[in-house]
């Protein structure tokens, strides 16, 4: 079992009171598996993802639970240890590629950076590897993109670059937070295809956060449904979708069926 989250709790301490964004979340993720965390906006899924990476910043704080990664509790690790894990063993793909890349550095530098820091590669080697990664995500003229700045790229290209960056150090786990939400519908399909291929080729486990059940159906092996900080149902994708145990899940599925005429 690669990742075991047990009773994770993260709260936000604001002037108006305490918000229990993640209130006792537990799930498992096996090696090579793709788990989807699904729920409406505001249910706490992004907070859960950030908590696992320990990237949660004030006024948010992890208040309880365990996050066992390869058997070790991430919540007990030191800052230095976490830094080595981030990017190298667990990496993240963010929702909005427009704002997730630093606007003042070019793509090549930003991808090379993670290779230099995590794998100790020299500058030239890192850039070459960066180029290889870009080619892997099917970017035409990868060499050119190395020199381009984020604002010069389209949404789809940017997200591919982000995926390339996330996979550069061959992590064991990739957390993807709404990777297609900010993109055009047509581009979404392309990105999903690329993701599927890479997941297969790289043998990564993926924690996919989304509110889009269609995406879950496309890519995920298992799914967990989250609502108001708690997981109310989880299991095999086919099972959950065909025989949902909770009413909430059923309602979700109904909405999707009504809009799109069925899931798989």
């Amino acid at each position: 079992m690669l990742l075991q989250v047990k009773d994770l709790r993260s709260h936000f301490f604001t002037e108006e009171g305490v918000v229990k964004a993640v209130d006792g979340v537990s799930f498992d993720l096996a090696e090579g598996e793709t788990l989807g965390i699904v729920g409406e906006t505001g249910c706490g899924k992004t907070v859960a993802a950030l908590s696992i990476m320990r990237l949660l910043s004030s006024p948010g704080r992890i208040v309880g639970g365990e996050v066992l990664f390869k058997g070790e509790d991430l919540l007990k690790k030191s800052d230095d240890e976490m830094r080595r894990i981030r990017g190298g063993e667990i990496s993240m793909v963010f929702q909005d590629p427009a704002t997730s890349f630093n606007p003042v550095f070019n793509i090549g530098d930003q991808i090379a950076e993670i290779l230099q820091v995590q794998m100790g590669l020299g500058k030239r080697k890192a850039r070459k590897k960066a180029r290889d990664m870009l080619e892997l995500v099917k970017i035409p003229k990868a060499g050119e993109m190395l020199h381009q700045y984020p604002h010069e790229l389209s949404g789809g290209m940017r997200q591919r670059a982000m995926i390339a960056m996330a996979l550069a150090c061959k992590p064991d786990l990739v957390i993807a937070d709404e990777p297609t939400t900010a993109l055009d519908v047509t581009i979404q399909a392309q990105i999903l295809e690329i993701l599927k291929e890479l997941i297969r080729d790289f043998h990564v486990s993926v924690l996919l956060i989304t509110h889009n059940l269609g995406v879950v159906a496309e890519i995920c092996d298992r799914v967990a449904v989250m609502r108001r900080g708690k997981i109310i149902e989880q299991g095999d994708v086919k099972q959950v979708f065909n025989k949902p145990k909770s009413e909430y899940t059923r309602d979700l599925l109904d909405v999707v069926r009504a809009l799109y005429g069925g899931v798989e």
Binding site: G87, T99, P103, I114
Partner: protein, 322 residues
Amino acid sequence: MSVLNYVLRRILVMIPLVLGISLIAFSIIYLAPGSPAATLLGPKALDPEALARVNANLGLDKPIYVQYYKWLLSTARGDLGISIGIIPSKPVGELIKGRILPTLELTLSAIILALLVAIPIGVVSAVRQYSAFDHIATIGAFAGISLPNFWLALMLILVFSVELGWLPSSGLIDPRITSPTIFDYLRHLLIPAFVLGTASMAGLTRFVRASMLDVLRQDYITTARAKGLSERKVIYKHALRNALLPLVTILGMSLPGLLSGAVLVETVTGWPGMGRLAVNAVFARDYPVMMALIMIFGVLVIIGNLIADIVYSYVDPRIRYE
């Protein structure tokens, strides 16, 4: 090529601004008490020869827009008139020439000092928001913008010159030394530059802090952390560059304030620059000098802003590659 394009467009915008400033300077001829001739010539207005020359130059008997046009032309050519108060009969251009550099040196030094203080303090303030350091720095910033700069100059002179004798109390260099050294110059520069820089220091500190706080909230900072970068790298490599970008523009906008401050600071510390000249001109009712100074000050500000814009377009990739 887009950079050149950008620069040309900025220059085009400059032109109406310069014209506007020239209008204001020109209007002084008519706002001042007495006849326009008196304003430009002073007591020599009674001299028929001088009067005739001014008439030829400006056509005081012709309609206003012609006068303005002629005045503009002669100013552009470098003929800024004749001083009527400070050193009568001396061409204004010569009077001002020697003063521009000291003022520029003073202003530049003030900016450099301000940046040296504001950037580190602003960054630390932002990174340690709400800490004791932050609170003290914020109060310091408030103090900096509330201090009357001429009073600060007096206090510093009192402490460092009168009481301790470490620093000279006025002037550019020690007139008794035959071969002035850089060190002597710097000793004289210290108090004026520090005083002039104080208000900027304060304002820039708050600005850097705010900009840094803004940047630290951005998504790409989370991305940087997710890549496993050390916090030091996140702040000083990823955040800082973004936070400092708008600084260039802010510096440009602070120029008018700086030059205004220079007037008082130069007067109190005896620094022989344009600011001091302006005050002398006012007391001598030397209108030609005042008009010329308005033009030059205004043009300096505009050029300064232009330089800031060019630097900014070079430094922000979003503009460079557009």
